[in-house]
Symmetry: C2
Subunit: 291 residues, 2 copies
């Protein structure tokens, strides 16, 4: 029960049409190589606009379904692949989301997921732009399986991966936009990249699920010309024991990886973690503190 | 705010007195080298007796406090170190626990933790011997900090580490007994070891806490002479970003590591994961399934 998954790791330009052209070219290339599911980076239509807080940038938002969904649906149908894309969603005036969209291989919208955990860090001012998703965390049913789609900052939360697993996900998928502050030391950069990969591999381990994380790459300067982000690429896939199956470097990369979906059943038999969860003792997980 | 932590990674013999002698010698050596906290492997008084289900082996259990607590308290006071040890606890006839005991540096019992998640695998028949701990998961207050003591199988559960963090732990500690089945392939062994280290590093990352895991080493044959376990050692310490600070190989090892406890505050400021937990959406974590 192998599933060939592709990713399109791209550097984004300031021009949305160019970006969408690169992305759809990547989808076509992955599909031609045999991918039945293609995962795109977070917010792939534009530069990562959250480096500054600017009300005018809500103009970049669009409805779901809308133009980006249509464009992705069109290439999904053309190539007969399932696509996990990403949209800056305008849900109503004043309510905008960071939304993953899943296009079925016939081009229809199979489902969406609105980013649950919203970061706010210097250079990643997402709390200004994105209303947190209102849940529940639930996989999207598609012809290639139940896709546990989460987005970027969600990847730091074991809770999110666990909820997707408990809801029957066959695979975890993380469209992402993460990079380095060039002012950080080489050691700090290494710790950050390692932590990012390690915690996602741990979700595969804890839940006995394969996982694919897809990041953008390239350097994007901040609008105020101070700082900027060097997106680290590093898109990767892990198997159900957290083992690294494939990974990209810092350059644009249309990756392809074979994922054995039957590993879920096999690994959960030898690592029966879900059997032994102490749900009688987990109530405080829904509290801010347990002191 | 550095804390020097020692571990005593030992191969256990069939003789309890020899084991306790080796362990107390190790504590003395670690203390002499500057350790203020020494962590021991799980069930360090005996062979890992859970390779078979034998009612007579409940004879190995003892009360807490009791002889092992006394012996550890004695060496803790002698060396003026805090010790995290492990006891097969007889709580009442028919109720036995896999219990971590924390001895203060004056030799008194600071607190205990009863293993919450109990495994049951071929060769690890723990559900026969150990009643699951009845919680709550709470750190033990000591002169060297609030110790988030968990035990072995707990290490596969992000929930356990999270609960300790939310309850104010300063550090996560995992006495452990884990090893390879020699019948497994080299690849499978590598996946198991990597997963074991990776998921624990991920608890450090998710919670911004340092972590020390201490395993036994050596080969112990099964009582029925079929199979047996090659305990893989590999005791290690990780910092608050999950970075590996020190690690042991497969041989007996009295390790020493400097842990910067102020890293908790520093790292949680740059990685504010606890701020963004969506406790409004976590209710299903207390369910068996979320379907």
């Amino acid at each position: 029960m192998n599933l060939t998954v592709g990713w399109v790791q791209q550097a984004m330009t300031g021009d949305a049409e160019t970006n969408m052209q690169n992305i759809t070219d990547g989808v076509r290339a992955a599909a031609k190589s045999g991918a039945r599911l293609v995962v795109l980076p977070e917010l792939h239509r534009t530069h990562y606009f959250c480096q500054t807080e600017n009300p005018a940038l809500f103009d970049l938002s669009e409805p779901v379904p809308g133009p980006t969904c249509d464009a992705l649906g069109s290439v999904a149908a053309e190539c007969s692949v399932v696509i996990v894309g990403s949209v800056f969603e305008r849900r109503m005036p004043g309510v905008y989301h960071n939304t993953a969209v899943v296009l079925e291989c016939d081009g229809t919208l199979a489902g969406i997921y609105r980013k649950t955990h919203i970061p706010d860090d210097p250079g990643y001012y997402e709390k200004f732009y994105f209303t947190p998703g209102d849940g529940p965390l639930y996989p999207v049913e598609t012809s290639v399986g139940r896709l546990g789609v989460l987005v970027c900052w969600d990847q730091w939360y074991p809770e999110a991966a666990r909820l997707m697993a408990l809801a029957g996900a066959d695979i975890l998928l993380y469209p992402t936009a993460i990079g380095w502050d060039e002012a950080d030391s080489a050691d700090e950069k290494k710790r950050q990249f390692d932590a990012w990969q390690t915690i996602q591999r741990s979700h595969a381990i804890a839940n006995g699920l394969p996982l694919v994380a897809v990041n953008r790459c390239g350097i994007e300067t901040a609008p105020d010309s101070v700082g900027g982000i060097r997106f680290w690429g590093g898109s990767f896939a892990a198997g159900c024991q957290g083992e690294l199956l494939a990974s990209a470097g810092e350059e644009p990369d249309t990756g392809l990886v074979e994922i054995d979906l039957s590993g879920v059943e096999r690994v959960r038999r030898i690592w029966p973690f879900l059997r032994d969860r102490r749900i009688d003792l987990y109530k405080k997980l829904t509290a801010r503190l347990a002191i």
